[in-house]
C-alpha cells in the first residue's frame, strides 16, 4: 500500500516529455563533442566518454534533486551559500588557473568549478529569501537581496568569470521581475544604475583581464586583431555561416575538423553543431531549448507555492541566459565572455549543475508533498 502510494507520488511529477527533451539536447552535445574531438586526442580518455561520465553523475544529481523536497533544500540555502563563498575565496588564493582565469579547485584528478554551483545556490537563496521575507518597500525587495548577490558576484568577477557573473545578475533581475518591482522602484534602480555606471564601468573594465578587454574590443571593432583575440569570433562565424541550410554533415565541418575553430568542444560547441547540421539543425536545437523552457515555465505557473515558483523562474532565467549568451556570442552578436551552452558544452561542473537544477525544477512540479508532510 505504502509502496504503491510512493510510486504514484513519484510518477505524478515525473514528466516524460521533460526528460525526453533533456536527453535529446544531451545527445546533441555528446555527438558534437565526439565529432569535433575524435581523432584529435591521444593518451587521456576521449572527451565524449568523459562527458558521458559527467552526464551519468548529472543524472544522479537530477534524481536526487527530483526526489528530495525543495523546502528542505531551501532551508539549507544560506549555509550552502556561505560554503560556496568560502570556496570562491579559496579559489581566489589556491585555485587552479587555466587560460588566465583562476576558477577551479583541484580534487585529485578532477577539477571542480565552484562558480557553476554558485549559480544554483544563488537561485535557492533568492527564492528562499523572497518566499520568507516581508516584501514591503524597495529596501526589502531590491536592496537586501541585492546585497545577498553582491559578495558572490564580486568574487566571481574577480576570478575572472564574466559569464557566470552576468548570469548572477540575470537571475537577480528575473527574480525582481517575478516579485514585482513597482514603477518607482524600477525608476530608482534605473537612476541609480545610471549614476553608478561610470564607477561600475571603471570597476568592471578595470577588473577584467587584458584578454577579456581585447575580446570586447574585438567585438566592438571586428577588424581588431583578427589573428589574435578576434580570431575566435571570426572563425566561429565562418563555421556557423558556412553550414548554410543543411549543414556539412557529421564530421564534415571543415572549420572545426581542421581546428580553425578553437575550443570547439567547450564554449564554441554550438558553432560545430551549426556547421555540421546547418540552419535546420539549429532550428531543431533551438526548438528543443524553447520547449524545455516552456515546460519549465509551465511548472513555475503551476507551482503550489511561491518558493517553488521562484525556484523554477530562477532556473529558467539562468538557463535561458546561458543559451542566449552562448549562441549569441558564437554567432557574433555579443562579445565572447566564456559561458558554456547548457547540456551541450563539454564540462563536468556545468553539466552536473545544470542537470541538478532541472531535477529541482521537476521537483517543483509535485502536486503533493512527501509522506511526512
Amino acid at each position: 500500500m505504502i509502496n504503491r502510494l510512493t510510486e504514484h507520488r513519484g510518477l505524478d511529477s515525473f514528466d516524460i516529455r521533460y526528460v525526453a527533451l533533456i536527453v535529446a539536447i544531451l545527445g546533441i552535445g555528446v555527438l558534437s563533442i565526439y565529432s569535433v574531438t575524435h581523432g584529435h586526442q591521444s593518451g587521456t580518455a576521449p572527451y565524449y566518454l568523459k562527458q558521458l561520465i559527467w552526464i551519468s553523475l548529472g543524472a544522479a544529481a537530477f534524481l536526487v534533486m527530483w526526489a528530495s523536497d525543495y523546502h528542505h533544500l531551501a532551508r539549507f540555502a544560506y549555509p550552502a551559500y556561505a560554503v560556496i563563498l568560502l570556496m570562491l575565496i579559496f579559489v581566489l588564493f589556491e585555485g587552479r588557473t587555466s587560460k588566465g582565469a583562476q576558477r577551479w579547485i583541484a580534487l585529485g584528478p578532477l577539477n571542480f568549478q565552484p562558480s557553476e554551483f554558485a549559480k544554483l545556490v544563488l537561485i535557492l537563496v533568492l527564492a528562499h529569501y523572497y518566499s520568507k521575507a516581508p516584501r514591503v518597500g524597495w529596501l526589502q525587495r531590491v536592496i537586501v537581496p541585492g546585497l545577498l548577490v553582491l559578495p558572490g558576484l564580486l568574487l566571481i568577477l574577480k576570478q575572472p568569470d564574466l559569464g557566470s557573473g552576468l548570469s548572477f545578475v540575470a537571475v537577480y533581475a528575473a527574480m525582481l521581475l517575478m516579485v514585482g518591482v513597482r514603477s518607482q522602484a524600477l525608476g530608482f534602480i534605473l537612476l541609480f544604475s545610471i549614476m553608478l555606471f561610470p564607477f561600475a564601468w571603471e570597476g568592471v573594465w578595470g577588473s577584467l583581464h587584458d584578454y577579456q578587454r581585447q575580446r570586447i574590443m574585438a567585438f566592438v571593432d571586428p577588424g581588431y586583431d583578427p589573428a589574435g583575440k578576434g580570431y575566435h569570433a571570426l572563425q566561429s562565424k565562418i563555421a556557423i555561416g558556412s553550414g548554410e541550410l543543411l549543414g556539412k554533415g557529421l564530421y564534415g565541418g571543415t572549420q572545426s575538423q581542421l581546428k580553425f575553430l578553437p575550443e570547439g568542444h567547450t564554449d564554441f560547441v554550438f558553432a560545430v553543431f551549426a556547421e555540421e547540421w546547418g540552419f535546420l539543425g539549429v532550428l531543431v536545437l533551438l526548438t528543443l531549448f524553447v520547449a524545455l523552457m516552456w515546460l519549465s515555465l509551465e511548472i513555475a505557473s503551476k507551482a503550489k507555492d511561491q518558493l517553488g515558483a521562484l525556484l523554477a523562474v530562477g532556473i529558467v532565467a539562468m538557463l535561458c541566459f546561458c543559451v542566449v549568451i552562448n549562441i549569441g556570442m558564437t554567432a557574433g552578436m555579443f562579445p565572447i565572455v566564456g559561458i558554456p551552452l547548457p547540456l551541450v558544452s563539454y564540462g563536468g561542473s556545468a553539466t552536473i549543475m545544470t542537470m541538478a537544477s532541472l531535477g529541482l525544477l521537476l521537483n517543483v512540479k509535485r502536486k503533493r508533498l512527501s509522506l511526512f508532510y
Binding site: 523546502h71 518566499s131 516584501r135 514591503v136 528575473a174 521581475l177 517575478m178 516579485v179 514585482g180 587584458d210 577588424g223 583578427p226 589573428a227 572563425q235 562565424k237 565562418i238 563555421a239 556557423i240 555561416g241 558556412s242 553550414g243 548554410e244 541550410l245 571543415t254 572549420q255 581542421l258 581546428k259 580553425f260 551549426a274 556547421e275 546547418g278 540552419f279 539549429v282 532550428l283 533551438l286 531549448f289 524553447v290 523552457m293 516552456w294 515555465l297 513555475a300 505557473s301 507555492d305 511561491q306 518558493l307 515558483a309 523562474v313 529558467v316 532565467a317 535561458c320 542566449v324 549562441i327 549569441g328 554567432a331 557574433g332 552578436m333
Partner: protein, 623 residues
C-alpha cells in the same frame, strides 16, 4: 505555508509576470533564430566561400622601427631591408623532413630550427625561423618553395647602426623578444619574433620607437602554397628620436679614451642636455642586434673589460677629491668656514690614534678655502668634514644629486652611495664611526658616484645652482602626425646657496687649471675651471705608480666646465687605473672642451633647424 493575504495577491500577480517572461523568451529566441538565419541562409554562401578558402593565413607585417638621430640630425640608427624565413606549421606535413630540407639548404642548426617550430603558439600563425638572410639564401628558398609547403619568405627591415661602436652604450641594441618579456604587460601586443629594444635608449624608448605591426592575409591552397596576398592592415612605423648628443663630440670623447677603460660625460650645464657620453670598452650594436650564438654571447658577457657596462651611468667609483666641490659649498653655506679663514696643514691630520695623511707629505702650510681647492689640500677638508659631521655632508651631497639615480633615460642606471649615519645603520646595521667622516670628506670610504652624476654636479656649480636632470632625448617625432614633440629640460632641484658661494668656488676651480693640480687642462682658446680627483683602488700601496700592477692603480678623475665666465659645457672624465686625475684625466677633458668650443658656432641647434622644417632626409627604405 504561504497564506498571508498580501502574499496571495502577489502570487496571483506571478502569473501575469510569467506571461511577460514567456513573451520575452520567445522574442529573444526569435532574435537568435533571425541572426542564425542571416548567417546561414543569407550570408551562407559568403561564409562557405570563406571556409573553403579558410586556408587563409594571417601574416604579421613587422613595423619599421623609429630612427635615431643626434642633435644635429645625423643618423645614428636606421633600418635596412633583409629577408626572413617564416613557417606555418599548419601547412607542414612532415616537420622533420622540412627541418632536414631547411638545414641542408641554408646550413642552419637543426636543433635551433626544431626549437622554434616546437615553441608555444598557434599553428596557424607563421613563425619566424631565420632572419637577416642573404639575398642568395632567400632566392634559394624561393626556388625550392614548392617542395616545402608552409614556408614563406618575407622582406623585413633590420636594425642597423651606421656608426658601429660609436655611442653604442647610449643607443643600445635590439633583439627578439624573450619569453620572459612576452609575459610582461608592456609587451602584451607583441608576439614571438617581435623585435624590441634590449639596451640603451632602444630599450628605454622602445614603446615610442617600436611602431605597430600590421597584417597581411595570405591565401594558401590545400598544399599550403601561397596563392594571393592582400594587406589587411598596414604596419605603423615607430617614432623617431632626436638625441641631445653631438655625434662628433661623442666620437672625440670615445677616441680619447681609446683602449683604456673609463667614461667621459659632457653636458650642457644650462639644460642638462648630454652632449657626449662615452664609455669604454664598447661593443658593436650591429653584432648584438643580430641573432647571436650562445658562444658569442658568453664571450661578450665574460669579457673582463665588461663592454656591456655603461661606465658613465652604471659605473660606481669613489669620487676622490672631486668630492671637495660639494664639501666646499657645504662649508661656506653652513658657515663652518668663511672664505678667508684658514687651516694649517702640516701634511697630516691626527684623529685619535690615527694620522690621516695629506697627499703632499710636506704639507700645504696655512690654506684658505680657495687654496685648499686649488692645491687639493686634504687636511683642510678633513678639518671641515670633522666640523660639519657626516649628516650635514650627506645632505649637501644629496642636494647635488649624488647618491640617487639622475633619472637619465637609460636602463639600469646606478645610484652610487652618499653615506650618512642612517644609511650605515640600514645598510650595514652598524654605527657610524667618526674616523669614517674624515675619509668621506675627501671622497673616499663609502662614498661612490657615477661619472654622469659628477658631470651633473659640476654643471650645477657652473650654472649657479640649478640641478638639471641629465637628458639624452631631446625630441620625439611622431611618424603618423609628423609632429615633433620636444621634451623640456627638467630641473631636479636647486642648491640653496648664495651666489657668492658659487663665485668663490668657481674662482678657485678656475685657478685649479691655471696654477693648481690641473695645469694640464689649461687651454689657449677657452677658460676652464675644474677639479682633479684620484680614487683609491687599493688602500695600501708602496713605491712609484709604475711598479704597481695596473689593476691596482688608482682611478683618475677630472670634472670641469667652460668657459668660466659663461659656462656652456660641463665635463666629467673618469679613467680607470690611470693614476692621478691631473695627469691622466685633465688633458682628456681639455680636448673635449676645446672640440666642443670649436664645433658649436658652426652648426645651429637642432630645435631651430627643425622648426624651419629643415628635417634631415630619411633613408629610402624605412617608411
Amino acid at each position: 505555508m504561504v497564506t498571508g493575504h498580501s502574499s496571495e495577491s502577489e502570487f496571483g500577480d506571478l502569473h501575469r509576470r510569467l506571461f511577460i517572461l514567456r513573451v520575452g523568451l520567445l522574442l529573444v529566441v526569435a532574435l537568435l533564430g533571425l541572426r542564425l538565419w542571416h548567417l546561414q541562409i543569407r550570408e551562407g554562401p559568403y561564409y562557405r566561400d570563406l571556409s573553403e578558402n579558410n586556408r587563409t593565413r594571417l601574416v604579421l607585417l613587422e613595423p619599421a622601427r623609429g630612427l635615431i638621430y643626434d642633435r644635429h640630425g645625423v643618423l645614428l640608427a636606421n633600418n635596412v631591408p633583409s629577408f626572413s624565413l617564416y613557417v606555418t606549421l599548419e601547412d607542414v606535413k612532415d616537420r622533420e623532413l622540412l627541418i632536414q630540407q631547411l638545414t641542408d639548404l641554408l646550413g642552419l642548426d637543426p636543433s635551433l630550427v626544431r626549437k622554434k617550430m616546437t615553441a608555444k603558439g598557434s599553428k596557424l600563425i607563421p613563425r619566424k625561423i631565420k632572419d637577416r638572410m642573404t639575398l642568395h639564401d632567400a632566392t634559394l628558398v624561393e626556388s625550392h618553395r614548392l617542395d616545402m609547403p608552409g614556408v614563406m619568405i618575407q622582406v623585413e627591415s633590420q636594425r642597423n647602426y651606421p656608426g658601429g661602436v660609436t655611442a653604442a652604450h647610449l643607443l643600445g641594441y635590439v633583439g627578439e623578444i624573450s619569453s620572459d618579456q612576452l609575459e610582461k604587460p608592456e609587451f602584451l601586443d607583441l608576439h614571438q619574433g617581435s623585435i624590441v629594444g634590449q639596451y640603451g635608449v632602444e630599450k628605454s624608448y622602445d614603446r615610442h620607437m617600436r611602431g605597430m605591426a600590421g597584417q597581411k592575409s595570405v591565401e594558401v591552397d590545400a598544399l599550403g602554397h601561397e596563392k594571393k596576398a592582400s594587406v589587411v592592415e598596414r604596419p605603423q612605423a615607430g617614432n623617431d628620436l632626436y638625441l641631445t648628443i653631438d655625434v662628433r663630440l661623442q666620437k672625440v670623447a670615445e677616441d680619447l679614451l681609446g683602449a683604456e677603460q673609463g667614461a667621459i660625460v659632457a653636458l650642457d650645464p644650462n639644460s642638462g642636455d648630454i652632449l657626449a657620453m662615452a664609455s669604454r670598452p664598447g661593443f658593436d650594436p650591429n653584432v648584438l642586434s643580430r641573432e647571436l650564438t650562445a658562444k658569442q654571447w658568453v664571450e661578450i658577457v665574460q669579457d673582463e673589460g665588461r663592454p656591456l657596462n655603461n661606465r658613465a651611468s652604471q659605473g660606481q667609483y669613489p669620487p676622490g677629491s672631486t668630492f671637495k666641490i660639494p664639501m666646499a659649498v657645504a662649508a661656506l653655506e653652513t658657515k663652518t668656514m668663511s672664505p678667508s679663514s684658514t687651516v694649517f696643514c702640516n701634511g697630516g691630520y691626527q684623529f685619535g690614534k690615527r694620522l690621516y695623511h695629506d697627499w703632499k707629505a710636506s704639507g700645504h702650510g696655512y690654506v684658505d678655502l680657495h687654496n685648499a681647492l686649488v692645491h687639493s689640500c686634504d687636511v683642510y677638508f678633513y678639518t671641515i668634514g670633522q666640523r660639519m659631521g657626516i649628516d650635514v655632508m650627506a645632505e649637501f651631497g644629496k642636494d647635488f644629486g649624488l647618491g640617487k639615480a639622475t633619472g637619465v633615460e637609460l636602463p639600469s642606471e646606478r645610484a652610487g652611495i652618499i653615506p650618512s649615519t642612517t644609511w650605515k645603520q640600514k645598510a650595514k646595521n652598524e654605527q657610524w664611526l667618526p674616523g669614517e667622516t674624515i675619509s668621506a670628506a675627501i671622497g673616499q670610504g663609502y662614498v661612490t658616484v657615477t661619472p654622469l652624476q659628477m658631470a651633473s654636479l659640476v654643471g650645477t656649480v657652473a650654472n649657479g645652482g640649478v640641478n638639471y636632470r641629465p637628458r639624452l632625448v631631446q625630441a620625439v617625432m611622431d611618424r603618423t602626425s609628423g609632429n615633433l614633440q620636444e621634451l623640456p629640460a627638467v630641473p631636479r632641484g636647486k642648491i640653496n646657496a648664495k651666489p657668492e658661494t658659487f663665485r668663490v668656488i668657481k674662482d678657485a676651480l678656475a685657478d685649479v687649471v691655471t696654477k693648481g693640480t690641473a695645469t694640464k687642462a689649461k687651454s689657449s682658446i677657452v677658460t676652464i675651471g675644474g677639479k682633479t680627483g684620484t680614487a683609491q683602488v687599493a688602500a695600501l700601496r708602496t713605491g712609484p705608480e709604475e711598479n704597481i700592477p695596473k689593476k691596482f692603480r688608482d682611478h683618475a678623475w677630472f670634472v670641469a666646465f667652460a668657459p668660466v665666465e659663461s659656462p656652456k659645457i660641463a665635463v666629467a672624465v673618469l679613467a680607470e687605473h690611470m693614476g692621478h686625475g691631473g695627469a691622466a684625466a685633465a688633458p682628456l677633458a681639455k680636448e673635449v672642451i676645446e672640440t666642443y668650443m670649436k664645433l658649436t658656432p658652426q652648426i645651429p641647434a637642432v630645435t631651430s633647424d627643425l622648426s624651419r622644417g629643415n628635417r634631415p632626409g630619411r633613408s629610402a627604405k624605412d617608411s
